[in-house]
Symmetry: C2
Subunit: 674 residues, 2 copies
């Protein structure tokens, strides 16, 4: 009889021979099998549970006898009695291999669990968080060897888990002595290993064996809103999601106003930093409360944001981002103490990771979109557009990825539009105009019915939000209310009394409850604002396409909350995005938030996006003369092109032209950043 035995682990298929008597956990480690263990093999944590298989395994040519593992021992029996062990399961640290065997590692016993990310692309995400819990027994202090409690913990972690050079900040040091004594010298240490060469850091300590997960925050810090998810770091599930207004809005609606505020007011940047850091703290509190999680169990955060918010969050005056050459103070990924950016009180040593910035106007939020969408992983050419006050645009495939930012201004968000407003109940979000009668019907946020449905009732209609104005302008063009240059026709030209003269131009009345209610119209000025915005967006995309040497893309991904609400058809009619088949336009939802969650759950994702950001080719629209050309050329609302003809099958597009032959107006370059 041989002294060793064949062990085959499933589902990995890893196999090898080990000496008889080897515990399953030791065999798994020796063969590089991903089997969890928090307590270091003491039979306490039960994380190393395995399911041995007995009987015939013809595939492997194996017969596994009942005696292939050592009998259930006292430790397992005790665990089963007190905590309950699932039928057929063994503790990997206790069961020893006595003969050839096939052992299944159930998903919950794998350290690097794979989870399916819920998104259009359904990519698999591997759980590989930076912070893990280690159950450890620390030698008691002795007057004969006056070594500090921390030093004894550090040595125990080195001896039992091979973790060398542990570091600890003062806040976690301040808790250590009490926790060690409360846990009777057995504690669970939350240790952060950034995986980028920095030494491991002690993040938190808990008395005894901590079986609950640790938690993390994924935060998308936008100019207008701050949105966050609270995520369990064992399997990546989202336990709470919440958002709040960015309190910096009181210093300026858009980012450029905030940069100006910093320039004009002594201490203005500090004031804005305080405001946003306080908001980060209260978001953390809200999320913890909502999820029913102790804030001290939150050990990490990942933040994505645009460059101006990035600098303001860090306490860096953003003034350089307001003028060429838009120099960043720092562009690389940051790994900070969470409290340094207002995320407190979390676990005493909680860390905050901020994704790298791509360029002076292309932020960590765009990096998160790039991480989530991974155009570099695809053969086909993706155009990814994250529409905000600035549009951040990515174009690429496995050969190359390009990025730029385009100064769309806030029109797409309903700002600088006469009846515009933010997306909120009462705002028109969808609109259709009958090409024959030129009569509109619309839907408002918070109401499930079209305005021509009796069930619509008589709600208060407050204005038009970003997606509403895009549909309105596109529908006006489709209905022949606008000519290709963007001019609104008169009542006579268009054939509807809804086109009213105001001074030398006209406006189209969508809804009129005056004098007692609102009168919601689309003015010539609104059309011009949308034209400027869409031209900027389109010109940015074209610039990247020039750089790539292509004149068409294979797919368009609309990212961001706003992107999720845009109607692809209308976006294309308007000329916001290059023509592609309608079915090739998808929404990625909150891709920046998803990217943040990926970076939170996986160090590999962090390393991947850090490397990818280096490789991304950055195009600065401000210094590319062709941007200007594309911008001017894109001002018109497009004529029929090949894919546009395809659109024409869906919608009726009258060929109108009020000032045919006239040059498009409004080609002046407006530099608006934010």
């Amino acid at each position: 009889m041989s002294d060793d035995a064949l062990v085959i682990f499933t589902p990995s298929g890893k196999r090898g021979r080990v000496a008889k008597g080897t515990p399953v956990l030791a065999a798994a480690r020796a063969l590089g099998v991903d089997l969890d263990s928090v307590c270091g093999g003491r039979g306490i944590c039960s994380k190393c549970q395995v399911a041995p298989g007995y009987g015939e395994f013809p595939k492997h040519g194996l017969h596994v006898g009942e005696d292939a593992l050592s009998p259930i021992n006292a430790v397992e029996a005790r665990y089963d009695r007190i905590r309950g062990l699932k039928e057929g399961r063994r503790l990997g640290c206790q069961a020893c291999i006595q003969g050839d065997i096939v052992i299944d590692v159930p998903p919950e016993s794998q350290v690097h669990r794979q989870v399916i990310r819920k998104s259009a692309s359904e990519r698999v995400m591997e759980m590989d968080p930076a912070t893990r819990t280690l159950f450890i027994e620390v030698p008691e202090p002795s007057m004969h060897e006056p070594k500090g409690d921390f030093e004894r913990l550090s040595e125990a972690l080195a001896a039992q888990f091979g973790l060398t050079g542990l570091q600890a900040g003062l806040p976690v040091l301040a808790q250590l002595q009490k926790v060690l004594r409360k846990g009777h010298w057995q504690i669970s240490a939350a240790v952060n290993e950034a995986g980028n060469g920095t030494p491991p850091r002690l993040v938190a300590v808990y008395p005894g064996l901590r079986e609950a997960a640790l938690y993390g925050l994924a935060i998308d810090l936008g100019s207008t809103t701050i949105a966050g998810h609270l995520v369990a770091l064992d399997d990546g599930r989202v336990l709470a999601s919440s958002g709040l207004m960015n309190p910096q809005i009181r210093f300026g609606e858009d980012l450029m106003s905030r940069v100006s505020y910093a320039m004009m007011n002594e201490g203005g940047a500090e004031e804005m930093t305080r405001a946003v850091q306080e908001a980060m703290g209260s978001l953390a509190e809200t999320l913890a409360t909502e999820a029913g999680v102790e804030r001290g169990d939150i050990v990490e955060a990942v933040v994505v944001c645009n460059p101006v918010m990035h600098h303001l969050l860090l306490g860096i005056d953003p003034v350089e981002l307001g003028q060429a050459p838009f120099a960043l103070a720092t562009n690389e990924a940051l790994d900070l103490h969470a409290a340094d950016i207002g995320l407190a009180p979390l676990a005493p040593g909680a860390r905050a990771y901020i994704l790298p910035l791509i360029a002076g106007h292309v932020g960590a939020d765009c990096a998160a979109v790039a991480l989530c969408e991974a155009p570099e992983a695809r053969e086909d050419l993706s155009l990814i557009v994250d529409v905000g006050t600035n549009a951040e645009i990515l174009l690429g495939n496995k050969e190359r990825v390009l990025a730029c930012s385009s100064p769309t201004g806030p029109a797409f968000e309903g700002a600088q539009i006469s009846s515009g407003q933010r997306a909120a109940p009462g705002a028109i979000e969808r609109i259709e105009i009958d090409p024959t009668t030129k009569e509109p019907r619309f839907r408002i946020i918070g109401n499930d019915f079209w305005s021509d449905d009796p069930a619509f009732g008589t709600p208060t209609i407050t204005g038009i939000c970003g997606s509403g104005i895009i549909e309105a302008v596109a529908e006006m063009r489709i209905a022949g209310i606008l000519d290709p240059s963007g001019l609104i026709g008169s009542a006579e030209q268009v054939g509807t009394a809804r086109c009213c003269a105001t001074g030398r131009t006209h406006e189209y009345v969508i809804h009129d409850a005056s004098p007692d209610g609102p009168r919601i119209t689309v003015t010539q000025g609104d059309i011009r604002a949308i034209q400027l915005a869409k031209s900027a967006l389109y010109a940015g995309a074209r610039l990247l396409m020039d750089e790539m040497g292509v004149d068409k893309v294979d797919r368009v991904v609309l990212a961001g909350a706003f992107g999720a609400h845009i109607s692809p058809k209308h976006a294309m009619v308007l000329g916001m995005i290059p023509d592609v088949p309608l079915e090739a336009v998808t929404s990625a939802g909150n891709a920046a938030g998803t990217g943040a969650r990926m970076a939170l759950c996986s160090r590999k994702s962090r390393r991947a996006i850090e490397a990818q950001v280096q490789r991304i080719v950055k195009i600065e629209t401000a210094i590319e003369p062709r941007f200007q050309e594309h911008f001017v050329a894109a001002n018109a609302i497009p004529h029929a092109t090949a894919p546009f003809e395809e659109l024409a099958k869906v919608v009726t597009l009258p060929d109108v032209g009020f000032n045919a032959g006239g040059a498009p107006e409004g080609g002046g370059r407006r530099r608006r950043r934010g």
Copy 2:
């Protein structure tokens, strides 16, 4: 003619052949000669000045011609015109070697300047501070390559100074952009290289070339006072010294009371941490003002303190230090952000280094004494005593160094003495008692005359300070007012009316201005308190001597401010310290403060004391039964021994004995920690 030339550097004597045309600075680097340069060889900083020697050098068999160096070039001429170059000096980065030459590196051009420490031992200290200034030109930002200002600085430092992996905290990042632009992309970067494997850290940035020194603080954080020096980091000179009361005194005079305060009051430890951190900040401010130095030019601090102060400074509850086994939260040296311990606002990235603790009662202050006195460097056996509320005692030679702490209590500091007070104007600090008349004469702090001198005048006499009470008790023994057991004799027994009965014991009246002024006496209780304190000190020293296997030491060093004021003769009469020849007793002055300055000026000193603390054998008096025996045995005020007979030549010691044969009183162990 050869293509290379012999170059000999003095005073190092380093020599070698270099290719003709090699700049002196490059030759120095190639040969490992310690020649400074801040500007990286641009002829700006003038730190690399050298003094070439011409003519005959018979010792080296050399004749150096006038053309051995390249002629003065435009850069040097310009420097000389604008800034002035000393006669005979050349800029090492500009002058090129053209023939065999001898080059002297003047002391001010050496990076590692050696300075003589002003102290009894006059040890040489090498300047090797952790923070240095590097003058650097940073490439301007470009829209084509959107790398952050910090990343470009980091790359420039790597390219020009070989400094890789630079790290920066948020406060210094916040200043970087303004300083780079103010300096027109030339800045002086203060970089901290701890030299312990951690990456270099950006501490501060200054526009243009900074020629002034950087500064550091050496702080001795005591239970009662906090004393600090402001030190120039180029040559170690002390620019200002100041001290303030430790504000924690309001929570308890001695450390044990503060530990109790922390135990009894919710948030008490935090309150004390805040108080001491605020005091650190105001000490920094006072020192900077006194020295006329900008606080932003202070880049480092070194702090030494006892373990309780250490923990309170760091925000760690000291409760474990109040009870066996006196477990430290952490014992190793710490390298922190200075602001984390209240030292703000200094340079934005200023660091604070705290020396390692030796044991639960043997602090970083004792480590600093060990660094300063370096008993391990000597053949003879040193007993080093730092007297405070706890006496910290070191005994050792090059073979071995032992350390312990002994609970002397506050009597030596004038506390718990009936007429005791802190050392302050009006306090009796010296006293002599005529052995014949038993009449005292004394001196008070703030008065240059003895009390029996007419010039003494009629000052207010407020009490007796620590050194005064030691002299008083020893003089009382010498004058026969005390018997060997410490009992004060009656007026009849002693033969002076100054011995007055109070209840069942007597007191000795030193000064009586009653009823309008103070009546200053030494009571039997005072004698007992001093006996307890000196017994503890002596027992600690004896315990270490037992451990070392010796019954005498070669020298005694009295450290600390108090140690500087103790009269060795009286200390030996009293039996505070083991008998040695009087000339073998020296005062080390503020050895802890000097040790702190050494660690501030030299990373080698930090590494040396970190290693030495590991090697020091720690003896815990609380668990050594022999400590108790020594303590009881040491209660008497000694009889004549060999060295004591030597003392007898100096002083007249009557052989008195009021209760001859009676056992010494007061052997009860008092455990007082602090």
